[in-house]
């Protein structure tokens, strides 16, 4: 039992330290949201990639950057209804 508890604690620690670490009950919404947020953060963080997208979209870099952070708030739409 103690082993299980420790594993549980370790997992929780991981989850708190590394955002997006999954668990047994990860929903599709959580998983996709997480993937998309990671992607947007990566687009913003790599200067050439951000420039590439800004040239493609015909917007300036700062606009694209803020637009992407804005999208990180709800990247895949509304969460599904929780069935109790």
């Amino acid at each position: 039992m103690a082993d299980k508890l420790r594993t549980q604690q370790q997992l929780e620690q991981l989850q708190s330290r590394y955002v997006g670490t999954g668990h047994a009950d990860t929903t599709k919404f959580e998983w996709t949201s997480n993937i998309h947020r990671d992607s947007y953060a990566s687009y913003i963080g790599h200067p050439p990639l951000l420039a590439y997208m800004s040239v493609g979209m015909g917007e300036c870099r700062e606009r694209v950057r803020s637009m992407m952070i804005e999208k990180m708030i709800q990247p895949v739409g509304k969460p599904p209804d929780v069935q109790d």
Binding site: R37, G45, P47, P48, A51, I69, K78
Partner: protein
């Protein structure tokens, strides 16, 4: 995946990226002077703005082998030197300083806080420092914030604390600044959104009601603890923060910039808000709201202001007015916020205001600009808007405000710094029939885009060009006395005479100089204190100051064939092969050395070095003979004219020059013997100052004509001017001190000499045919010359005319009004005064409108007229996406220009209403285009290519073959070959390499008899391909959107099977492998150069060089990959790389090997940029590495420089 490969390539950067990610200003050298530090790609560069000349020069540029994301400058209280903090992808915070005495960056601290790489929750995206330099905050986009306390210890060294956490999960940060609070506890302000509730609420109500807050984080220095001190909701659209001066200088707080508003906020002040003025004009949408995208705060004595730039490029001056009580004393309360239009400059990533009154604009696209302030917009008639008329609450309605943009009044452009960012496409071609090809590139965005021609060469400043009565063979300049600062005479030698010109206000002939005018001249020299020497075929004329002439006649039946002189020595070679040597006596007369020395062959050239400081003579005489040897003779009184060493050559030497030059190996100056051969080859060998031994020979081919060498001075450094079919300059690179040999962008000269006069201190004089030319070289730093032709919209792709030196460029601009709509709007509107003025788009951009496209096709002639010859605008909201020149066999192999377009394109998510393929005929040898017809297709064709006399088009995920019909294109064959979208096509024979937007490349074979396209090999990794090229029939090189470059090869068996004769039934019925093609490509090489590759090509870059892969990057990078020939070299460079990784670890703390393996482990590649850092190491480290490699330092340096110079610049 094995790290070894059957193929190895050497990666080199020819031109580093020019896009600036961020620029910071500071006194990095510890003096009063301000410098600018910029981050571009992986490169950290420090620039010195020169306020007197209004120029910016680069002091130091270093590759940090890591992605620099953010920079900050800070200064400890009481110090006068700024340090630099780098936020990079290393998961570490790096603090460096610039050491001006050694001209290098020195790392002071490197603190690890997280994983490497660019991740959502690893800090490095945002960096803010306390204005008093007491702390810094480094944050990620989500959740994590770390505060480091900066201080100094008893030895006055900078110290850094362990990090203090200020994390808040599920919180996104939009902007972060350090608040100016004087000497109170440091406070940082962040613009945050907490998305916890949105993730739970399925009704979407929480998302609707979401608030953005301005949060203050206070670092309690006493408790060593960070607290969330204050949080207040702000405008939901806010994206940027600017620091407002505090303490004694102002009210403190921040400006919060959002959509159409700028708000002043602080915890103990009321909010004040002004809208962002909108442009007024017939083509402007009055409802369009703008964001602030860049800005800068500037503090002057007792006052401060902001320059904030909107996304149109308009800069607004924002000021704060403070409240006063009845007595006129400031109460410390803010009274109002004021805004007015200032000027328009290109959209910036960073604006920097220098104390010396300059503005540096690090442009987002195109050239960076350096402006001088004329005034600060204080007393002009621009309308000023203040916050009194606008509610502070962002939800309340208000009346928008407008202004008329106008030409710059407050700033004046003084320098435009070339930048090829974004570079969209590039082609290497030799259109001018010179010996080396040129690089043609399309770059820039919007109206600031351009077509550029790059050529390897040094810029030459032509001063005088005058015609002479006859064709001279030689030219010299000379002073009259040793103390003279400038040259007094230009001596020209003709086949049968000599002409002396005096240098003064004007250049005119003089006759009373004592020079013999009836014979040609072999050498001219100022000797001793105040005498002159003229060597002519029949003797030596020694002209004393009192015009008394001593003549040494050549022995009977012999003449002088070669001569060399310096200010104390003269050596001549006679036609009999004898060498006669003279040295100046104490009384100033020339004394002949008794013994002559006879050489085995005819002497072709001689050289004496300069007399070293404090010595009486140069130690060595170099003698070149027609038996293809060079001998070094000693001039030591004990062993005069004794042989010291011999060097055998491949051809007879035509010129020699002994010269001391700066040397990167020894760090000081080294004596070199420069040798020019009749075959046009140039050699440089090290001449040992003691033994006279020759070692470390480096060779370069200059051109087919015999090489001549001249000692000149450029930028205070000795340099060698080498003339062959082109003129070259050999010099030490100002930064690395490595030897460079670069052609001059100038006419080919016959003979030349150093030239110095009052007007032109460091010049050169040369003869070209009958012309006398005086010129100078002012810039040594940049050896790629750029010429630019401006374009209308963002260029996308271009093709060359198959025979003519012409290019066809497709350009398109998203969210921009097309010329037709613009014209209609201008015609329709009842123009109010001032609205009609059409502003130059280069500075003001085009009128914007969501969903609109402006697009055109340009015909550009980069050689003759250097201009755009024709512009074809596309109508109906169409945008050009692809272009190709295709010859149709059904039309007698006539070549047509094919352009693919899309209608109503939306970039993300991808959508459109139709696609078209336009066909144009070339008229007047391609100078004009005639529209023939257009064909509607289902999707915009992203790739077009000529293929076996027909057109190959990639339409969506289908590959199609079209033939040219009378009314439209006729579809002949089609196949679905890739999963998503065809973005590129390459072909050789019947093989087609198709690139997919996200699934790498697929090889397709076309079976003519059956008229079928059959994919037979694909890739295992999803590569988001941007560009590809076929290196050979089996191999393809390409780049992807994440900044990788890779080489893929088709297995031999699959390749052969695909080309087997017959129907191809065996290919069609072959079993699929894992739901793909039957075979898989093998990875040969992989590399992460950081920039997004936009083009890749296999070509030569220099005359006689091997084929290399030339690639270009979006941020303006030009790079090459050189294939290794021998395995030995690979082993050598691999070991060298390993040593350099440990001995010269990357500055920002990124592991070099992991950096180059960013997405896929690096394979089959040697990083040449890292290897070239060897030359910059301190001597002991060089020695150590050389010891490990069992070679000498010189040998290693030669190997490194040979890799570059053999194939590139």
């Amino acid at each position: 995946m094995a790290a070894t490969s059957s193929m190895f390539m050497y990666s080199l950067t020819i031109q580093p990226p020019t896009a600036v990610t961020q620029a910071i200003l500071g006194q990095f050298a510890g003096t009063k002077e301000q410098q600018i530090v910029t981050a571009s790609g992986a490169r950290l560069t420090i620039h010195r703005p020169d306020p007197t000349q209004g120029k910016i020069s680069t002091i130091l540029s270093q590759d940090v082998f890591g992605i620099i994301r953010t920079l900050a400058a800070f200064r400890l209280a009481g110090s006068n030197k700024d340090y630099i903090i780098i936020g990079s992808d290393s998961g570490r915070i790096t603090i460096i300083e610039y050491v001006p005495s050694q001209n290098r960056f020195n790392r002071l601290h490197l603190e690890t806080f997280g994983k490497s790489g660019i991740r959502r929750v690893i800090p490095g995206q945002y960096l803010a420092v306390d204005p008093k330099g007491r702390a810094c905050l480094i944050a990620s986009v989500e959740k994590n914030k770390l505060v480091y306390v900066l201080n100094r210890n008893a030895q006055a060294e900078l110290t850094i604390s362990s990090p203090l956490e200020a994390h808040k999960p599920q919180t996104l940060v939009f902007a972060l600044v350090g608040l100016d609070v004087g000497y109170e506890n440091p406070v940082f302000a962040a613009l945050e959104v907490d998305y916890t509730e949105c993730d739970q609420d399925s009704t979407g109500q929480a998302f609707e009601d979401l608030e953005k807050s301005l949060v203050y984080y206070e670092l309690d220095l006493g408790l060593n603890h960070v607290v969330r001190k204050w949080s207040d909701p702000v405008d939901r659209t806010a994206t940027m923060l600017f620091q407002v001066p505090g303490g004694a200088d102002g009210p403190s707080g921040v400006l919060v910039c959002g959509l159409d508003n700028i708000t002043y906020r602080h915890s103990n002040q009321d909010a004040f808000r002004v809208p962002i003025p909108r442009r007024r004009g017939a083509t402007e949408n009055p409802e369009r709201k703008r964001f602030i995208v860049a800005g800068v705060m500037h503090k002057m004595r007792g006052a401060f202001f902001f320059l904030l730039q909107s996304e149109d490029g308009d800069m607004f001056k924002v000021t704060l007015e403070m409240a006063e009580d009845e007595a006129g004393q400031a109460t410390g309360e803010v009274k109002r916020l004021k805004i007015k239009y200032f000027d328009t400059v290109p959209i910036a990533t960073t604006l920097c205001i220098l104390k010396s009154g300059f503005l540096f604009v690090a442009s987002e696209t195109g050239n960076h600009h350096f402006y001088q302030f004329e005034k600060l917009g204080d007393d002009d008639d621009e309308t000023e808007f203040d916050s009194d008329s606008f509610p502070a609450d962002p939800t309340e309605p208000y009346n928008p405000i407008y202004f008329h943009p106008r030409g710059a009044e407050n700033v004046n452009l003084v320098e435009s710094i070339d930048s090829m960012n974004p570079q969209m496409d590039c082609k290497v071609a030799n259109l001018t029939e010179e010996d080396a090809p040129q690089i043609y590139s399309i770059c820039g965005a919007g109206a600031r885009s351009s077509f550029r021609t790059l050529k390897h060469g040094l810029e030459v400043n032509d001063i005088v060009d005058s015609e002479l009565p006859a064709v001279p063979t030689h030219v010299w300049t000379t002073k009259i006395t040793r103390e003279d600062e400038y040259d007094a005479y230009i001596v020209l030698s003709f086949t049968n005479g000599t002409l002396v010109l005096s240098i003064g206000e004007t250049v005119e002939e003089v006759t009373d100089t004592g020079f013999l005018s009836s014979a040609s001249t072999l050498a001219v020299q100022q000797l001793g204190e105040d005498a002159l020497i003229q060597v002519h075929p029949k003797g030596i004329r020694h002209i004393r100051a009192d015009r008394k002439v001593n003549e040494w006649p050549a022995p009977q039946h012999r003449s002088i064939v070669a001569a060399t002189t310096n200010e104390r020595q003269v050596a001549v070679a006679l036609s009999s092969g004898e060498i006669v040597y003279f040295e100046m006596d104490t009384d100033g007369s020339l004394a002949e050395y008794d013994e002559k020395r006879e050489m085995s062959g005819t002497v072709t050239c001689l050289s004496l070095g300069e007399v070293p400081e404090g010595r009486t003579r140069s130690q060595f005489l170099a003698v070149g003979c027609d038996d293809s040897t060079v001998r070094i003779l000693s001039l030591d009184p004990d062993s005069t004219l004794e042989n010291k060493s011999v060097q055998a050559l491949t051809s007879a030497p035509s010129a020699l020059s002994i010269m001391a030059m700066a040397d990167s190996t020894s760090g000081g100056s080294t004596l070199y013997l420069h040798i020019g051969l009749y075959s046009g080859v140039y050699l440089r060998t090290v001449l040992d100052e003691v033994t006279g031994e020759l070692s470390d020979t480096r060779t370069r081919f200059l051109g087919p004509k015999p090489a001549k060498l001249f000692r000149v001075s450029v930028k205070g450094q000795p340099a060698v001017l080498a003339l062959s079919s082109r003129s070259w300059l050999g010099y030490s690179d100002p930064q690395t001190k490595g030897f460079m040999l670069t052609p001059l962008d100038y006419v080919a000269l016959e003979h030349a000499s150093n030239f110095s006069s009052e007007q032109c201190v460091e010049g050169m004089v040369g003869i070209e045919g009958k012309n006398l030319r005086i010129f100078s070289i002012d810039k040594l730093g940049n050896n790629l010359l750029q010429q630019s032709i401006s374009l209308t919209y963002t260029p996308r792709k271009f093709v060359r005319h198959p025979d003519q030196p012409l290019f066809y460029i497709i350009e398109s601009e998203n969210n921009t009004l097309s010329p037709l709509t613009k014209k209609r709007l201008l015609d329709d509107s009842n123009l109010v005064n001032g609205d009609a003025a059409v502003l130059p788009p280069e500075e003001f951009g085009y009128p914007r409108a969501q969903g609109h496209w402006a697009s055109c096709i340009h015909v550009v002639d980069p050689i003759n007229s250097k201009a755009v010859l024709q512009q074809i605008d596309l109508e109906d909201n169409e945008a050009a996406v692809s272009i190709a020149a295709v010859s149709f066999s059904s039309q007698d192999d006539e070549t047509f220009l094919i352009v693919g377009t899309g209608k109503d394109i939306a970039v993300a998510p991808r959508s459109f209403t139709a696609g078209f393929i336009y066909v144009y005929r070339f008229l007047e040898e391609g100078k004009e285009l005639e529209f023939i017809h257009k064909t509607k297709v289902e999707q915009p064709p992203q790739a077009l290519l000529g293929f076996q006399g027909r057109l190959l088009a990639g339409i969506g995920n289908e590959l199609r073959i079209y033939d040219l019909g009378l009314k439209q294109l006729l579809r002949k064959c089609q196949a679905q070959v890739v999963p998503n979208l065809v973005v590129g096509l390459q072909t050789q024979g019947s093989r087609i390499v198709v690139s997919d937007v996200q699934e790498s490349v697929v090889y397709v074979v076309y079976k003519y008899q059956e008229n079928r396209l059959i994919p037979f090999v694909d890739d295992v990794i999803a590569r988001w391909t941007t560009c590809t090229t076929m290196i050979d029939y089996e191999t393809v090189a390409g780049g992807d959107k994440f900044g990788n470059i890779w080489l893929l090869r088709c297995p031999q068996k699959a390749s052969e099977e695909a080309d087997e004769d017959g129907s191809g039934a065996h290919l069609i019925h072959e079993r699929q492998y894992l739901q793909g093609a039957p075979n898989r490509l093998a990875l040969l090489a992989h590399f992460f150069p950081q920039d997004v590759p936009t083009s890749i090509q296999k070509t030569q870059l220099v005359a006689g060089g091997r084929d290399v892969l030339v690639w270009t990057g979006l941020q303006g990078t030009l790079g090459i990959f050189i294939p290794f020939v021998s395995r030995e070299d690979v082993d050598f460079f691999q070991t060298l790389e390993q040593h350099l990784r440990t001995e010269d670890a990357p500055l920002a703390g990124r592991d070099h090997l992991i950096y180059r393996s960013y997405y896929v482990p690096v394979k089959g590649m040697i990083d040449g940029d890292l290897c070239e850092r060897y030359a910059l190491l301190p001597n002991d480290k060089k020695q150590m590495i050389a010891g490990e490699l069992d070679r000498s330092v010189r040998e290693i340096e030669r190997k490194i420089s040979d890799m570059r110079t053999r194939v590139a610049y």
